[in-house]
Amino acid sequence: MTLSLEIEKANYFATAAKENWISFVSFLMFLLAWELICYFEIIGPYQLVPPSEVIVGFFEKLRDVNPDGALLQHHAVASLALALTGFVAAVVIGVPLGLFMGWYPKVNLMVRPLFDAIRPIPPIAWIPIAILWLGIGMVAKAFIIFLAAFVPCVINSYTGIRLTNPVLIRVAEIYGASNFETFRKIGVPSAIPMVFTGMKLSLNAAWTTLVAAELLAASEGLGFMIQQGRRLARPDVIIVGMLAIGFLGALMSWILTQVEARFASSRRLS
Amino acid sequence: MSTFIKKYSKWLAPIGSFAAFLLLWQVASLNVSADFLPSPLMVWDELVRLSQTPVGGTSLLGHVGYSLRRVMIAFILAVAFGLPLGLLMGWNRVCDKIVSPIFELLRPIPPIAWIPIAILWLGVAEGSKIFICFVGAFVIMVLNSYTGMRYVDPLLIDAARSFGANPRQQFFNVAVPACLPSIFAGVQNALSMAWMCVLAAEMVGAREGVGFIIIQGMDLNKSSMILVGMILIGIVGSLLAALLRGAERALCPWRSEMV
């Protein structure tokens, strides 16, 4: 009866909830240290600004287009729009492709050559050729983001369906189900948890690649904003931009987790 | 014939798929103008040319050497700091409570978003590039070793305790070996992340490295140079990954049958 051992371990970390004050204190210490480093100018004002100035900078950026020529919200919307288009396209194409590749060996043989060639090359390495092919506009960036998000979707859907419990496949076969019916009724549902993992990874990849693309060639977006912040030695703009990128990335992942939880609870995926 | 296939089938599939890819590329390059998509042969000639004449003052191999040096320094530092921190956070509740708030603040920021501030702090030279690769690899190393430690089977810890093992023995003799598989997964992911970050850093501002080559190709509008760079990046990346998989199989023999 492993019940007792799991409970002991869970209690070990759960009862620690009342020790959250340690986290609170350590976070305060971190901010304090940061404030003091700037106060005593251990790192110069042109390289680092204290948290207080970052907060001020954040509210300013919501109203002031300087120095990069657009409000924070505008950059954020531009980045989100671009990342999500690439991400959604990758999911819509990548997930079904991964599922079919995992289930039907013939499909796998057909797609494998192209896929294995793309995979080892990091998405960021595609930026130059994409810009050469599609110019520095939105299309090139969307293509790069699509590529970045596409690979994890395919890999995880492929792995997910190949890890289907063989006993359940036999359950369908014994009742005389066709291969496609077994794919639809057993393969796909059991792959769903891994598909969601893949979507989270590809969302992360899309968001990372977006920043890279905006650093290199963009006229708007959070990546462009922090690059301008560097060119104009405005560490407050850079840090605000970085925190915004981090926050939005985390927010999108959190939303995806909620969708998965609701989806799984309705289908009780263990 | 069938025994031949069975014996070499492990190699046949990758070779077959590579040959099919080359064919696909050749056909595609025929009906598209060369400066958009050069044929495999043109890229091969470019590779030969580049390996003789230096680009921006450094030979092709020199560029790869620069990139690898940056990746390796950052990777080793990330493992040296990230691995112990991750294991400790997973094992000790207090340490987890102290570090995780700061870690959770920095974790969602993609390593590439650190490039501007890194250049501001450490200039365009080696320092900022190594720092960016370090950030990327470090976060992944901490995460994988932390998760590995938290998912160690409590039964193994209790087995050790039943023999009177003290906490130090439980940690070193049982917990760490038990999460070796996730540590190796972390090491492999950290290296591939470092490899990606060095590209980004070099593309934003560098005079050497594979990232520089593909940006140079873009600036000179020479697609064949870009493709040479991309193929190099793909090959070196895969070699690094294969190297680590070999190391894992050597260091964890018990896993070889299971894997």
Binding site: V167, L168, R170, V171, A172, E173, I174, Y175, G176, A177, E181, K185, I186, P189, S190, R267, R268, L269, S270 | -
Partner: protein
């Protein structure tokens, strides 16, 4: 075990499944060696063999999951085929589909068989009642105990009114007291629905407790070593001398430990 009680047993029964010189080789490793036997309509046949006698391979051949090297398997005189015949299989591992409720699990096989909806609903209600899970119809498998989950699987398999129900040691991991209870329940369902059941197990006492007839497999390469008729009324007592004699007889034939 005399010859006459075998012929008397077989005289009044109709053959449902007949297996003729079934042989299975993996490469040149012989696993099943020329197995011949029949299963009679509405019979509860138990097949028992020593550990490692190729029981799983035998089952996979019988259920057509893997091709057989030689020999034939006929159901009602026609070569067995899951697409034509109603073959059902209760696996050793619990095989309730995790993302389907109890009632949808039972509907699963019926839907694949493309039965009309009203017939499906009728059978689902009946099976829920027989296994006593009507109260739990909207539960998911993880919310049930292991024994209840196994009963969902049994209900799902009996629901399609199988020509042949194969059961691979379904109660192997359960509490002993629980196993007696579920074995009695299986007997009840089997009598009520009159299905043909082939129950395969390593547990000799379980085989003697359930079976009308027992086939004993030899060690690898396995063949039918012996056939034993169990002419005791159900439910049987494990301390009844005749039961104990039969159990000792079968144990001696298999004993390797």
């Amino acid at each position: 075990m005399t010859a006459d009680n075998k012929s008397a047993y077989k005289a009044k029964r109709e053959v449902k499944v007949s297996v003729k010189n079934l042989t299975k080789k993996y490469g040149d490793l012989l696993v099943l060696d020329n197995i011949n036997f029949d299963i009679y309509k509405g019979e509860l046949l138990c097949i028992v063999g020593p550990t490692g006698c190729g029981k799983t391979t035998f089952l996979n051949c019988l259920s057509r999951f893997i091709p057989i090297t030689e020999g034939t398997i006929d159901v009602d005189g026609v070569p067995a085929d899951p697409h034509i015949h109603n073959i059902a299989f209760v696996f050793q591992e619990v095989s309730a589909i995790p993302w389907l409720t109890v009632e949808d699990n039972i509907r699963f096989g019926l839907r694949i068989k493309r039965l009309p909806e009203d017939e499906i609903e009728k059978r689902v209600e009946r099976m829920l009642d027989i296994v006593g899970l009507t109260k739990y119809r909207t539960y998911y498998p993880q919310q049930l105990s292991a024994s209840m989950e196994q009963r969902v699987v049994i209900a799902r398999n009996f629901a399609i009114n199988p020509d042949l129900l194969l059961m691979d040691e379904p109660y192997g991991q359960l509490d002993v007291k629980l196993r007696y209870y579920l074995e009695d329940e299986l007997m009840r369902i089997w009598k009520e629905l009159g299905s043909t059941v082939a129950f395969i197990t390593h547990n000799i006492e379980e085989a003697v407790y359930l079976a009308e007839r027992i086939l004993i497999l030899s060690p690898k390469p396995s063949t039918i070593k012996e056939e034993v008729i169990v002419d005791l009324p159900h439910p049987r007592q494990f301390d009844d001398p005749k039961f104990v004699a039969l159990r000792d007889y079968v144990t001696e034939s298999i004993k390797w430990w």
